[in-house]
Each structure stands twice: as structure tokens, then as C-alpha cells.
Symmetry: C2
Subunit: 94 residues, 2 copies
DNA sequence: TAATTTGGTTTATAAAATAAACTGTATTAC
DNA sequence: GTAATACAGTTTATTTTATAAACCAAATTA
């Protein structure tokens, strides 16, 4: 049986990736609202996605406020698509 | 964002449920082989699925050997289908 | 009859997810 | 002007989960 990518098989990380797959760029605040997660949890999970090379994270200032912008990378996109494939197979949705 | 049923959002439990959805009855040994899990892990996860009322577990003797037969219950079937729906929405598979 | 296999369960450990507490800057209220 | 609140996060601690390791009883094989 095919292993599901453990990095993606997490509620919050999967939700984040799903958003980024469709939106192509989103900031911390937006992701937090959309996923209704806590800031702490989101911060940790974004770090993990970043460490895996699945997303890019860019911190900038908008006026005087910090802004954390996330984008899915090519590697992340590929991993997500593979995950969906694996899941379909597992669930026999195909 | 819809919460994914945490009882099903686990690699091994999901695999077990997926098998039971298609096979309708399977014993411990079969599930162990199909999922390539360890006996300990499988035992624990089957307990959880049973405790949730998602599967029925029947222990019997075949000759002199014990046999643990699992079936998905109506509740389990429903939960699984709901989970797949939720996942599709989350992944925007449609 | 001693060692191994089968079919598991129980307990211990490792890894995750989540929450709580904290930081620094900015804004608002008095 | 300064005390209090809010914003945008990060870090650390706690809880929950998953997994692995150790164990058990009965049966089989050497």
C-alpha cells in the first residue's frame, strides 16, 4: 500500500497547501482566517512546509506592519498532486 | 473550513476502512498483510475504530486458531462517505 | 522437549498537533 | 504622554497520536 506523504497528511498543512494550490499566493493573516487555525499552530506548520521546500515564505513590510507571504513551490505542487493521486487510489475514488 | 473526522484521518485507520468498504469483511491477518502494518499498530487502530462504532469485531476459533473478523458498520460506512466528501471539498477535487 | 510460528494484546517511546505564553511594534484611549 | 489594547507573529510547553517494542498463550515444527 502506498504511503501517504506525512507532510501533507495533516489537517492544517493540507488545508494550507490546498489554498495555495488555488490562490497561488496568500499571507499569514489570510491563511489563518481561511483555516481558522491559531497563529501558533499555523506558524509551526508553515515552517514545516517551508523546511520541506513545499512553499516559499517571504517576509516584508507593508507600511510598518510585517507581512508573511506564502507561495507553493514547484516541488510542493508536485507533492500535492502526488498526494491526491495516492489518496484517490487508497480511497478507490479513481 | 470543514473539520476532517480525526478518527478517519489516520493513515492506517483510513486504509483499514477503505478495505472494509470494498470487501465487507476481513480478518486481522488479511488486514495486516494488505496494509503492511505491524500487529501492534493494527490492534490499537482496530480498537479505536471499534470504540467509535465504525467497525464490528468478532473473535472466533477456526479449528484451534483464533480469528478476528472485522466488518464496517452502517455508522462507519456513513462516516467514511462523509470523510471522502469533506476531503474532496478540501482538495477541490469537486 | 526445546525452539519457532501464529495471532494477537499491552505497554513504552517517538513524533505530531495544538495551545498557551511571550515578543516587538503600532495604534487607540484617556 | 503614557497606559492599555491590538496586530503579526514566534517560541515553548502540553496533549494527543502513531508507532514500535515487548510480551503472552496456544500451536506447530525440528
Amino acid at each position: 500500500m502506498k504511503e501517504l506523504d506525512p507532510l501533507l497528511h495533516s489537517q492544517l498543512r493540507l488545508a494550507v497547501m490546498s489554498i495555495l494550490m488555488n490562490v497561488d499566493e496568500a499571507d499569514f493573516v489570510y491563511l489563518k482566517e481561511k483555516t481558522s487555525s491559531t497563529a501558533g499552530n499555523l506558524s509551526v506548520q508553515l515552517d514545516k512546509l517551508f523546511a520541506a521546500g513545499y512553499i516559499s515564505v517571504e517576509k516584508s513590510f507593508v507600511g510598518k506592519k510585517t507581512r508573511t507571504l506564502c507561495k507553493v513551490t514547484a516541488k510542493g505542487r508536485e507533492a500535492f498532486e502526488q498526494y491526491v493521486e495516492d489518496l484517490k487510489k487508497l480511497l478507490k475514488i479513481s
